[in-house]
């Protein structure tokens, strides 16, 4: 039998529907692959082999009984460790939550379970999703399967690395400033940040409430769309959830026709600071879309330049408040409870021991930005910038259907390269942050390898609120055109990982 781990989710679903494979077989194949390669990759923080096989068996039983199953029933998936899953350790990459088993399922997990999608385990991430490399994880760095000396991107590096290393065909990420799209770009996979409010945040351990968005990671556009459809839609448990039908993402991913589509290349997202190999692949992709009948124009979004500073005021402000609940009183780590220390002291010792440097940095930054006397100059001003960026988008969408840019200024960098330079690290997210600030849909699709380092480059598509389908439309068109050139999706060019065991 062919290697089940090399199949796409859509192919696996087809194999199971037609009775050529069972979910238990598919799940076991991926568990075996994890056992074989994850020692090198370290995509997973927790593998729930028992739970996954039980879920797989349940799907097989239902299928055997002739029950009508959802399209992805039986397909395994890797879950970012920031989403709660009842009874399964959930840490958000932090020591402060070590050993915590949530008593409830996040809405995303509920929907995955309802769709019969098998959850293999929890993937590594920067602590509380603060970072662009997974180097801020309290549990070690994830390695990029394309080059194990490099970072896989972040914060959701674990999820993207897992699918890139064929440990899972699908993964869930969360995107606050690029945490799905940047790792997608760095690992040659597809990463989609749905419209804010298009997927539920209930059970997502909050980093920045007004920015966080769960979304799909996959090796193909269609797989991402199928997963998107499974998790998206209105959730009454999330007040910011949008009560509208899910955009027709699967249809768009199957269609992939860009003829007549108006595409705007964002002038401000390119040039100085962008790696030549990244720019080269990006412009070739734009050319390709033009050949496919898209109308391409250059568009200016003058306020994007302020997106990064605004983001680094809004995010820490919200995070400083969201992370206040980690006080050692009800769950997670508890340090210094010796019968002598006050509650306040225990909270303080626990936070000192339980939070990493980047988390502390952002808590302090956010606390300061919200302080009286500084609020207007920092948080207030950042919110105004946010409005201006949303207006840039609105104005651009009067001219074009989607906006495009490179997903990241560079390809994946070496582990340790930027960890001591927060600003250099933050600049990774220059292209992805504006969409979080405006809440619109955006995605990264593989568009080739940079000449200078042979590493994947991501093509970034931004679409209006609740037009997530347009991202898939462009992604599918690009994917099929490039696959024709390459004789397969980009992932087929990835080096084989040594089997560690």
């Amino acid at each position: 039998m062919t290697d089940l781990t090399r199949k796409t989710a859509a192919e696996l679903a087809e194999l199971m529907t037609s009775g050529q494979a069972s979910s238990v077989e598919v799940t076991q194949a991926h568990l075996d692959r994890i056992a074989a390669v994850d020692g090198d990759v370290h995509a997973f923080l927790h593998v729930d082999a028992e739970g996954a096989l039980a879920q797989a068996k349940a799907v097989d039983t239902k299928r055997a009984a002739g029950e009508q199953l959802a399209p992805l029933a039986g397909v395994p998936l890797a879950l970012k460790d920031v989403l709660t899953q009842e009874g399964v350790p959930t840490t958000a990459g932090s020591k402060i939550l070590e050993g915590w088993k949530p008593p409830y399922d996040s809405t995303v997990v509920k929907r995955l379970k309802a769709a019969g999608i098998v959850i293999l385990g929890k993937t590594n991430m920067d602590e509380f999703a603060m970072g662009s490399s997974t180097e801020n994880s309290a549990y070690g760095t994830t390695h990029n399967p394309w080059d194990l000396s490099r970072i896989p991107g972040g914060s959701g590096g674990g999820s993207s690395a897992a699918i890139s290393a064929y440990e899972a065909p699908l993964a869930i990420g969360t995107d606050t400033g690029g945490s799905i799209r940047q790792p997608g770009a760095f690992t040659g996979t597809v990463g989609v940040k749905p419209t804010y409010g298009g997927t539920s945040r209930y059970g997502l351990i909050a980093l920045a409430s007004s920015l966080d968005t769960p979304g799909p990671c996959a090796r193909t556009t269609l797989d991402a769309a199928l997963l998107h459809e499974a998790i998206a839609g209105y959730d009454p448990m999330d007040s910011t959830s949008i009560n509208q039908p899910v955009p027709a993402v699967v249809e768009a991913a199957r269609d992939g026709d860009v003829a007549g589509l108006r595409i705007g290349v964002v002038k401000e997202l390119g040039g100085e600071g962008y790696q030549p190999g990244v720019e080269a692949r990006f412009h070739e992709a734009v050319e390709l879309l033009t050949k496919l009948g898209a109308e391409v124009v250059e568009v200016s979004c003058p306020h994007f330049e302020y997106a990064l500073p605004a983001y680094y005021l809004i995010l820490p402000s919200e995070a400083s408040s969201n992370l206040a609940r980690f006080d050692a009183m009800r769950y997670g780590l508890r340090v210094g409870d010796n019968g002598e220390n006050s509650a306040e002291k225990v909270t303080s010792l626990t936070r000192e021991a339980g939070f990493g440097a980047e988390v502390k940095r952002r808590i302090i930054l956010g606390t300061h930005a919200l302080s009286s006397g500084y609020y207007d100059a920092y948080y207030g001003q950042a919110q105004k910038v946010r409005t201006l960026i949303a207006r840039d988008f609105a104005k651009a969408y009067e001219q074009v259907d989607v906006l495009v840019s490179p997903a990241t200024p560079t390809t994946a960098f070496a582990i340790g390269d930027r960890i001591d330079d927060p600003i250099a690290m933050y600049k990774n997210d220059l292209c992805t942050i504006p969409s979080n600030l405006a809440g619109n849909a955006a995605a990264s699709f593989p568009c080739g390898l940079a000449d200078e380092d042979g590493l994947p480059v991501g093509f970034h598509v931004m679409a209006p609120v609740m037009r997530d389908d347009l991202c898939y439309q462009v992604g599918a068109a690009l994917e099929s055109a490039l696959a024709e050139q390459w004789g397969g999706v980009l992932m087929t060019k990835a080096p084989e990982l040594g089997v560690t065991r």
């Binding site: 008593p103 910011t240 609940r325």
Partner: protein, 500 residues
């Protein structure tokens, strides 16, 4: 060096200083579920049995606004003549405390649901207008119990227990603007305001207002300024003053304490103070300064609340009569003079009288018992009228016995005495104390004969054409009968006897 007195006499304090007050009242709403989750709100359940990921602040949990809570807030705002925001947001009030699950309280900051209102209270016949700054929505915290200390306070405790059943219960905080009334009325006005709020909230049906369960809590801000000055002094905030009487006492205490500090050349410290019901004093709590920084910002997990004008008007139409309008209507219905009505209100007897009249008692009789007997007794024993254990039903029962001729007023008073002493039902008290009127004519005639025999001079006067003198004979008979006779009956029989 002489040590200044802790407090001045209230008269001395008010001779030098004018008090300025501000009242913040927290009201627990009686919604079935909590403000941001579906947990029940019943009081008294075993600790931590009415909780869920949301009100425990578990990682990942998100709030959803209870629409009924918003409705109650709007009703309260309308009843206090407030403007209702067309668009407002919740805000996070950030501070650490173990009984606050998220370490921020979801509240409202600069965009309250209701603002710019007013209301009126009546004290000693004078109407005082209270300006309302705002009424906003927020959630309650959990409840800490400090164990092992002598006082039940955190100081000296070995550990603390937290019950999160209360966390997330909807609260409305009603904040007045500064209240400046003549100093000698200040404390009474504050009390009347809180008492009026209770009546209003009950009439609106939005809260059970059980002060003993903490569902209405008052924080009293007090400062003093030299008489005639317009410069505000430093204020203190006395927390959790939880009865009407305590509001009055705590404010009076703070006036006398601050006056003592100021008049001895000291400075009032801006701080939170605790009220001690037992000793009648406030003590210093946490020092509070303007530097207290809650880092408020709009709650990003919730969407703005934008009540439509149609909805607001629908709710306005459901409001009960305003208290001042109602008072005027009742006064007219009852035929009370202004003075009588003032006494009723000052005695907190309005609601009991309404209830008693509804049971068929005449307004005059209801007023007589509630004010003459029960309010007086409450005052003497330092209790609230509704804490006496005598209700409208019992008052109506006693009055019925009077109407039937079983009791006269004097005997009825003794029945009330028995009721207040917990001696049982009116019937039982009459039985035990032997209070029923003597309706046996022969017994009365014997007593009349004795009175005539003992007072020949009075009989003489009556016979010489002064029938009014017969009153003395009636008095003698009543005395003889130990009050247990119907005076009208005695007069009738006496008149027959004397042929007048």
């Amino acid at each position: 060096m002489t040590v200044a007195a802790d407090v001045l006499e209230i008269d001395d304090a008010l001779a030098q200083y004018d008090p300025v007050m501000g009242l913040e009242v927290h009201v627990e709403l009686n919604t079935k579920s909590k403000m941001f989750c579906g947990c029940p709100t019943e009081f008294g359940a075993p600790p931590n049995t009415q909780t869920c990921p949301v009100c425990l602040g578990l990682p990942g949990a998100l709030p959803v606004v209870n629409a009924r809570g918003v409705e109650s807030a709007i009703k309260i705002g309308l009843a206090l003549n407030c403007e209702i925001a067309e668009w407002c947001r919740f805000a996070r009030k950030n501070y650490f405390y173990p009984d606050m699950p998220k370490n921020f309280q979801t509240s409202q900051y600069d965009e309250p649901i209701a603002f710019n209102g007013w209301t009126e209270v009546v004290v000693d016949g004078e109407t005082y207008r209270i300006e309302i700054e705002r009424a906003h929505m927020e959630e309650d915290t959990g409840k800490s119990t400090h164990v092992g200390g002598a006082t039940g306070r955190i100081h000296g405790a070995s550990h603390s227990l937290v019950d999160y059943n209360r966390a997330g219960i909807p609260l409305i905080e009603i904040v007045t603007k500064t209240i400046e009334v003549p100093g000698e009325k200040a404390a009474a006005v504050a009390r009347a305001y809180v008492s009026m709020l209770r009546d209003l909230l009950l009439a609106l049906g939005v809260s059970d207002v059980r002060m003993d369960q903490g569902s209405l809590r008052c924080d009293a801000n007090v400062s003093l300024k030299p008489r005639g000055s317009s410069t505000l002094g430093t204020r203190t905030e006395t927390k959790n003053v939880n009865s009407f009487r305590s509001v009055e006492r705590a404010i009076t205490y703070e006036i006398t304490r601050q006056a003592a500090v100021l008049s001895s050349g000291g400075k009032v410290v801006q701080e939170t103070r605790h009220w001690h019901e037992d000793t009648g004093v406030t003590t210093s709590g946490r020092e509070k300064s303007d530097a207290d920084d809650y880092r408020y910002f709009p709650e990003p997990d919730l969407v703005p609340v934008a009540p439509s004008r149609e909805w607001v008007e629908e709710l306005r139409a459901t409001l009960p009569e305003a208290p001042s309008v109602r008072r005027a209507r009742l006064q007219e219905d009852w035929g009370f003079t202004d003075l009588e009505m003032r006494d009723v209100i000052n005695g907190n007897a309005l609601e009991p009288i309404v209830a008693t009249v509804e049971l068929g008692v005449t307004p005059a009789a209801a007023k007589k018992w509630w004010l003459g007997e029960l309010a007086r007794s409450a005052n003497e024993s330092g209790q609230e009228l509704d804490a006496l254990g005598v209700g409208p039903e019992q008052v109506a029962e006693v009055q019925k016995l009077v109407d039937e001729g079983t009791l006269n007023d004097k005997l009825a008073r003794q029945v009330f005495e028995g009721l207040l002493a917990g001696e049982g039902t009116p019937a039982e008290i009459i039985e035990k104390r032997g209070l029923a009127l003597v309706s046996d004519d022969s017994a009365l005639i014997e007593a009349i004969d004795r009175a005539i025999a003992a007072n020949p001079d009075v009989v003489e006067k009556v016979n010489s054409g002064k029938p009014a003198a017969a009153g003395a004979l009636i008095g003698a008979v009543m005395k003889d009968m130990r009050g247990q006779a119907d005076a009208a009956k005695v007069r009738q029989l006496l008149n027959e006897k004397l042929g007048i």
